[in-house]
């Protein structure tokens, strides 16, 4: 069952990601990205991470992608035009992404123990999750809040018109 779901939604995810890259119109790319995010949420769900799946849908499919569509609607970005720059991006981008992917995989596989990990019961209840989040991972959590604050400051400073 889990394997079947993995193949269905993993395939959907990969297909949508490909469509995201190949399609020319930004709104289609944004929609494909929503499909990618939602199928990722389903994959999390099959792994027993209910909260993570819900958070994925709310934050990524909901908030972040709403922001993207919002910007596309406001700027009315038209179809993508092929230029010399985009061809250069192809040449540099594909090997670059491959290299980054290999590097990250290597780091996670070899150094996973040093990055710190917490084991949760399976299926983990929300109670277990927050116990870990607010006890063992308190410092990263606080750092996150500072990061979010900086994000607010940055966004407002960039977008505000000086009067």
């Amino acid at each position: 069952m889990q394997l079947v779901l993995f193949f269905i939604f993993g395939g959907l995810c990969a297909a949508a990601a490909l469509n995201l890259l190949l399609t020319r119109h930004p709104i289609n790319s944004a929609l494909s990205l929503i499909v990618v995010m939602t199928s990722l949420a389903v994959l999390y769900l099959t792994l027993g991470a209910e909260f993570l799946a819900a958070a994925q849908v709310i934050v990524y499919s909901g908030a972040i992608m709403v922001l993207f569509t919002f910007v596309i609607m406001l700027l009315n970005a038209g179809e993508e035009v092929r230029t010399r720059g985009s061809r250069a991006a192809y040449l540099v981008g594909v090997p670059g992404v491959a290299a980054l992917f290999s590097l990250l995989t290597f780091v996670f596989l070899s150094q996973g123990n040093h990055l710190g990990k917490s084991t949760l019961a399976n299926p983990a209840t929300l109670y277990d999750l927050s116990a870990v989040l607010f006890r063992d991972l308190l410092l990263p959590f606080e750092v996150t809040s500072v990061l979010i604050l900086i994000a607010i400051l940055g966004a407002v400073a960039l977008a505000r018109k000086e009067h």
């Binding site: 709104i27 209910e50 909260f51 819900a54 709310i58 992608m65 919002f70 609607m73």
Partner: protein, 347 residues
């Protein structure tokens, strides 16, 4: 496994059909009540008291010609009413209509009980925005685009207040499952409901305001302010597609009323606690809580209509300022207050 699947399928279809019927009759209820508020009769010709009016309206929108204006971006133009209606119907998934009652492993009064029930509702609502955003964008119409921009900014702003107002309730119940939340308010009837006994009055107020804004209802119906924007984001839609937007709006209203009932008015619990004589364990007895639930939801729906018949529309900057500068800070204050109160009570 097969019986489970079949029974679940039957349950799902029954719930969806009942929801759609409820949508149709909410429209009639609204037209009737608003008419009485304005000293008119409302629909009264089709069937006794106009009771067949929703069905005739449905048939009409089915038979009308579907005009697709020139210059629309067709795939999204067709997709967006489907997104809107599907998300509206999907958000009923975790709403329990009564206490747990199993029949061959299938829960009769709820589609499914999840540990993260409340999050599922938030998630489905946040995806439902795309129906509105994309419809306005793909219509190639200035009114539609403005309407959908307004609607998205408004829904996004009030979703925040809505999410924050839920935290007080969750603090008290210690769970995100809607069934647990109702059970946490079932001890002493009326006095243990969150809105009274749980001191969640402010959260209730915030939730109610945010719910009105989320469903684009008066007095926050700026996205379809007809004096400025014709029909708002669905100006260019006709026949069945228009009807789907219409149905999704009312379905959202019903879901939001259900959730308000569950979170703040004790769900299916009776306001008199254990004072009423119990009917024993018969099948009939399990429908009494269901009736309480329906009554409370009906109360919210009438409130919606009453507000629509009474209050004028907000101005857009007032709307945004109300959301960001009043509701969100109030919600945060409510969270801090509730957590302090709970901490003092337990220690």
């Amino acid at each position: 496994m097969l019986t489970f699947l079949l029974l679940s399928l039957v349950k799902v279809i029954v719930v969806t059909v009942v929801l759609l019927l409820a949508v149709a009759y909410t429209v009639l209820l609204e037209r009737k009540l608003v008419a009485r508020i304005q000293n008119r009769w409302g629909p009264s010709r089709v069937g006794p008291f106009g009771l067949l009016q929703p069905l005739v309206d449905g048939a009409k929108s089915f038979l009308k010609e579907d005009i697709i204006p020139a210059g629309v971006y067709k795939p999204l133009y067709i997709l967006s009413p489907i997104i809107a209606l599907s998300c509206a119907l999907l958000s009923i998934a975790v709403v329990p209509f009564g206490p747990e009652r199993q029949f061959r492993g299938v829960d009769l009064f709820q589609i499914t009980d999840l540990n993260v029930g409340l999050l599922v509702i938030l998630g489905v609502t946040s995806v439902g925005i795309y129906g509105i955003a994309l419809s306005g964008w793909s219509s190639n119409d200035k009114y539609s685009l403005l309407g959908s921009l307004r609607a998205s900014a408004q829904i996004v702003s009030y979703e925040l207040a809505l999410g924050l107002s839920l935290v007080g309730v969750v603090l008290r119940a210690g769970s995100l499952s809607l069934r647990d939340i109702v059970n946490s308010q079932s001890a002493h009837g009326l006095f243990s409901w969150n809105v009274f006994g749980g001191f969640q009055f402010f959260a209730f107020f915030i939730y109610l305001m945010a719910a009105f804004a989320e469903t684009n209802r008066s007095p926050f119906d700026l996205p379809e302010a007809e004096s400025e924007l014709v029909g708002g984001y669905h100006t260019e839609y006709s026949s069945m597609k228009f009807a789907m937007f219409f149905m999704s709006e009312y379905a959202n209203m019903i879901t939001v009323s259900c959730v308000a009932t569950l979170l703040f008015l004790g769900g299916w619990t009776s306001p008199f606690g254990n004072l009423l004589p119990s009917l024993g364990g018969s099948i009939l007895a399990s429908f009494v809580p269901f009736c309480w639930f329906v009554l409370k939801v009906l109360f919210f729906l009438c409130l919606y209509v009453w507000v629509r018949g009474t209050l004028p529309r907000f101005r857009y900057d007032q709307l945004m300022a109300f959301g960001w500068k009043f509701l969100v800070p109030l919600a945060i204050a409510n969270i801090i207050g509730t957590s302090l109160w709970l901490a003092l009570r337990t220690s």
